[in-house]
Amino acid sequence: MSEMPQTMSPAPGTLATPAGRSLAQDAWRRLRTNRAAMVSLVLLVLIALACFVGPWFIGWELDEVDWEAFRAPPSWESGHWLGTDANGRDLLTRTLYGGQVSLTVAVVASAVALVVGVLYGAIAGFAGGRTDALMMRGVDILYALPFLFLVILMMVVFGRNIVLIYVAIGAVEWLDMARIVRGQTLALKRQEFVEAARALGVGNRDIVMRHIIPNLIGPVIVFLTLTVPKVILLESFLSFLGLGVQEPLTSWGALISEGKDMMARAPWMLLVPSAFLTITLFCLNFLGDGLRDALDPRGR
């Protein structure tokens, strides 16, 4: 709309042209009015910044042992602002490094789930008929599996390596995405613009990639915001059980697990990583709700 020729707009001083708004601008405008979502967004950015940049400024290393302070409570003077763990390592530093792992897993595993789920769902929905029935029956069967147990089985079999965690979690989470995308695709493929593309001789592959998938962005983003906290939770769960990331690396789940063993004598070891994890999950949930309201046209 903004590129409209000048002659079309009314003379200055009369009615102003209603400025054109893209879907994204529209959503952003609505999201900004949602206070909980905006506070969450700011908090999330701060947490991510703290995790990825913060460790440079604190002055302790991930596995640096302070021989003066084993299980020291939080204090300003000692430089251990949130205390130390049982081995005299600075807890804030470890929590921030752990956050790097948790947040990275969240992004990578969600991306895996996104790519697999969108492609699978879009192909099934677009192909329709027997292919669709067969592909979705496969999803139904996978749904019925106790997936977490299979992930743990994979950890046992292939050793605990961090790339595998990404793949395994992504492999679990793509199912819902595939279902949602398939449903949307079924509705989209009957619309006129797809017919027009076909009439112009566009091939199936290009129709899916250029016309169907870009129109799925709204529901996919909403669903993605639900996937990210689930992924973080799953990774923490595995690390908590000792089946996720291994020393010297750490993650929030692993730190909570260490903290739980020390909670009677050093409760901060449990409470600090728990607080980081909980706040992050809360923020992601609020942001997800906000995005859903902002992107869902029915909510207008």
């Binding site: 069967i141 299979l150 046992v156 292939f158």
Partner: protein
């Protein structure tokens, strides 16, 4: 109805086979044998060990042998607890896990359903917001945070209840684990119940019931509750999966001698047969439970039954 049951039973078979096959071959894909961590044994002994566990046969033969044993309900010997079979270990752990899980499910339903209804009846008022706030907490705060914090507060600081241990299933030992296990499910069920109740209350037959002057309690309990319960029934399957996976963590935290704890220990010490056995056992249990829920759903909602 009979054909419906038969059909669902037949549909469960490929799922079960897939669970078993996938788990079996995943396990055998493992680099190195299960006895690699042992002290270097002479080759003859290793060969004997492998022969004893049929590990010297071709993979397919092993698979068929395993399936055959499975058909007779035998999950094989544990690789680490040499003197015990997997069946034996599951039989020891399952009563504990079942008791914990059943109580958690009961608490989840008994707390979640009324909370959801209550929130729906007070739609958009303070009660509604309060209930949904608590529900959000139940969804956002993982149970491996809730459980240690509960243990810390009630077990250590206040010392009202034991912070861990089984104590032969005395309720004082059960209370904290059950609450920690049920909390996320209470949250999900309350949310679900609220949403479906709001929808049910807005439907025309409720307006009719109100218009003919029925008492509010009767309108809610007899006319709105029934249709609103249907989504809850289809959530029972995922709820059970949630409780089963949750129990793995909860048993670990409170030191309860259930299957979950064996499972984690087996996973950490690479006891392949025990891990495989537990995966298959829970897989079968979940598939059967889903089947049961399907049947219940079909029974409650005749519209589903006769569809394709």
């Amino acid at each position: 109805m009979v054909s419906f049951v038969l059909k669902r039973l037949l549909q469960a078979v490929p799922t079960l086979l897939l669970v078993i096959t996938l788990s079996f071959f995943l396990m055998r894909l493992a680099p190195g044998g299960p006895f690699d961590s042992e002290i270097q044994a002479p080759p003859e002994i290793e060969a004997n060990l492998k022969a004893a566990y049929h590990l010297d046969r071709p993979l397919l033969t092993q698979y068929v042998l395993y399936l055959g044993n499975l058909a007779r309900g035998d999950l094989g010997p544990s690789f680490k607890y040499r003197d015990r079979s997997v069946n034996d270990l599951i039989a020891t752990g399952f009563p504990v896990s079942l008791r914990l899980g059943a109580w958690a499910m009961a608490v989840a339903l008994l707390a979640g359903v009324p909370l959801g209804i209550w929130a729906a009846l007070r739609h958009n008022r303070a009660t509604d917001h309060a209930v949904m706030g608590v529900a959000l907490a139940g969804i956002a705060v993982p149970n491996f945070v809730v459980a240690p914090v509960l243990a810390l507060v009630f077990g250590v600081t206040l010392a009202w209840l034991p912070a861990g241990g089984w104590g032969d299933g005395h309720w004082r030992y059960m209370l904290l684990p059950v609450l920690a296990l049920a909390f996320p499910q209470v949250a999900y069920i309350a949310r679900l119940m609220r949403a479906s109740m709001i929808e049910a209350l807005a439907s025309p037959h409720i307006r009719t019931a109100r218009a003919k002057g029925l008492a509010p309690a009767e309108v809610v309990l007899r006319h709105a509750l029934r249709p609103a319960l249907l989504p809850l029934v289809s959530y029972l399957g995922p709820a059970m999966v949630g409780i089963v996976t949750g129990s793995v963590v909860i048993e670990q935290i409170f030191g309860l001698p259930g299957i979950g704890r064996y499972f984690v220990q087996a996973a950490l010490s690479r006891d392949y047969t025990l891990v495989l056995g537990v995966v298959i056992f829970y897989g079968v249990l979940i598939v059967l439970f889903n089947l049961l829920v399907d049947l219940l759903y079909g029974w409650l909602n005749p519209r589903i039954r006769y569809e394709g």
